[in-house]
Amino acid sequence: MTVLDFSTTLGNAWFPAPTFTASGCASSGRELAQFFDLKDMGAVVTKSVMMKARTGRPTPRMAETPSGMLNSIGLQGPGIDAFLAKDIPYLVEQKARVIVSIAGETIEEYSTLARKLRSVSGISAIEVNISCPNVENRGLVFACDPEASRRVIDGVRRTIGGELPIIAKLSPDVTDLVAIARGVVDSGADGLALINTVLGMVINLDTMRPHLGGKTGGLSGPAIRPVAVRAIYQVHAAMPQTPILGMGGVSSGRDALEMIAAGASGVSIGTASFGNPTAIMTIQNELKDLIIAKGFTSLRQVIGYAHRPDEAKDE
């Protein structure tokens, strides 16, 4: 029997398994705990939290599309204080590893959020969501602007000090993803989360108007997986030392393996949990079995494997 080292790291944070929730797709964790034990998976990535409580976008907030869905939630949430008071203690009590995702409307807000998190125990890393296409920032998403991206991460880095790993979550809706990635890593990000949703729209043919209350929404699910794999591959090729948390349409162990081979150190599972509450555990188990079946003895050997030169062309 092969023993597999299934653990992974993102910066200085260690996780027993490389399978995480995706931000915004597991609420605060409680709801999924009904279906499996949260401590059995890699980590819970919490829904992006902002300074103040937010009611989000008008409904309808979702539309199913071929092998995907659009969402336009608009970062509904309780605000950082209520989140720290209620959600973090629960997750810590469950012995879950926790990555807190933060989102701000201003560069300032990100730093303030980071300050709030600095002294909280039980957090493994911070994911900085600079890519949510649903939040209005004079029409511009942070992650679409290299300069703004850098400044957000810089602010968070300064505030948080050197302890907590910072993972910058990027949008694929840019001309030059590698340039944005380089910018945020230069500014102090320890890792990258790739990818957030792709901007999309559905027209409701009964009303003949955009279906979503927020008009546009973020496309997620298997439909975008090839885009996510490309993004991970491109960025890993350019910056092989930077750990990547891959996501976008992962719904089976083979999908997760694709991302890890492309260069991801871990994989977040979002939309798949909507169709399947136990998706994360299923994917985690399938991934483990696949890696063992391929003869690897540690997850690390697989990370970025697709970049190696072909040894044997006849494979």
Binding site: Q34, T55, G56, T59, G68, F274, G275
Partner: protein
């Protein structure tokens, strides 16, 4: 945070039967011992389209009735309208096919502790969960009157055996093809005044629920309605199914209709703000 989904389980269940009833399909599904945990108002979430489906989200259906003493184990009944691709697929599943189903989900209708007078109002397939509810109320000694409405006769679901638990049943169709001609909400005001109605249970289109709320507003009648919002996950993790709901102090929150509902107190729902930014 609600703990209401504590019995929710994902299982592969077998279709025991599938019959056409008017414009709907009645599906009986074997869910074994989980049947005992289902309450009127709860719903299920079903994977549709099979293994290679491009439909990635589950579809929600109200539990119409459950049966715990069947030979084949516990079963539940669904009344499914063939609406789009997913529900049509479900309606095409024949006896013996298997379904990936999460059950039971969501809040249930609150059952009064005293034997009060209850009015049950159903629109279209919304009548489905009301018959199971009627049985429970009946067993509690409540008087149960029922109003069912739909656009046309074939969209009225009112099974023979369901009527046993009901003291009276009136049917309304907009085209007059069955029962009385008109909307199911029209007689409610008079009924509340004539009879000593303590609680209205309603299930149907949002416009119907909202109209009932307008009628009960300012009265002593409690309005428990089962809302129906577009749901991506059905288990509280996606935030797509929210409704503006006020708390006792009037603060409005966007509550998830899958986990803080589908049964809600109609007087707290901000019907005029549904679909608006707060």
């Amino acid at each position: 945070m609600s703990t209401i989904n504590k019995n929710a389980t994902q299982i592969v269940a077998t279709v025991v039967s599938n019959k056409r009833v008017g414009q709907y399909h009645q599906l009986i599904i074997n869910i074994g011992e989980l049947a005992a945990l289902c309450k009127p108002g709860n719903f299920v979430a079903i994977n549709v389209g099979g293994e290679n489906s491009r439909m990635i989200l589950r579809r929600a259906f109200a539990i119409s009735r459950v049966s715990t003493n069947t030979i084949s184990g516990g079963t539940l009944e669904l009344i499914v309208a063939p609406h789009g691709q997913g529900s049509r697929w479900l309606c095409s599943q024949s006896e013996g096919s298997t379904l990936d189903i999460v059950v039971p989900l969501g809040t249930a209708f609150g059952i009064p502790t005293e034997p009060v007078q209850a009015l049950l109002v159903g629109g279209g397939y919304g009548s489905a969960p009301l018959f199971g509810l009627a049985e429970v109320l009946n067993a509690k000694g409540c008087r149960v009157d029922m109003l069912l409405g739909a656009s046309t006769a074939s969209k009225i679901y009112a099974p023979m055996e369901g009527k046993r638990a009901v003291n009276s049943l009136r049917i309304y169709t907009e085209d007059g093809s069955m029962g009385q001609s008109g909307r199911v909400t029209e007689p409610i005001k008079a009924l509340i005044e004539d009879m000593n109605i303590a609680v209205i249970y309603s299930c149907g289109p949002m416009a119907m629920l909202s109209a009932i709320d307008a009628i009960t507003r300012g009265t002593h009648v409690v309005h428990q309605c089962a809302v129906e919002e577009s749901m991506a996950c059905g288990i509280g993790i996606c935030m797509t199914c929210v409704l503006p709901v006020a708390d006792e102090s009037g603060n409005i929150f966007m509550l998830r209709s899958c986990i803080d509902g589908p049964v809600m107190d109609g007087s707290f729902v901000q019907w005029d703000k549904v679909g608006e930014v707060l």
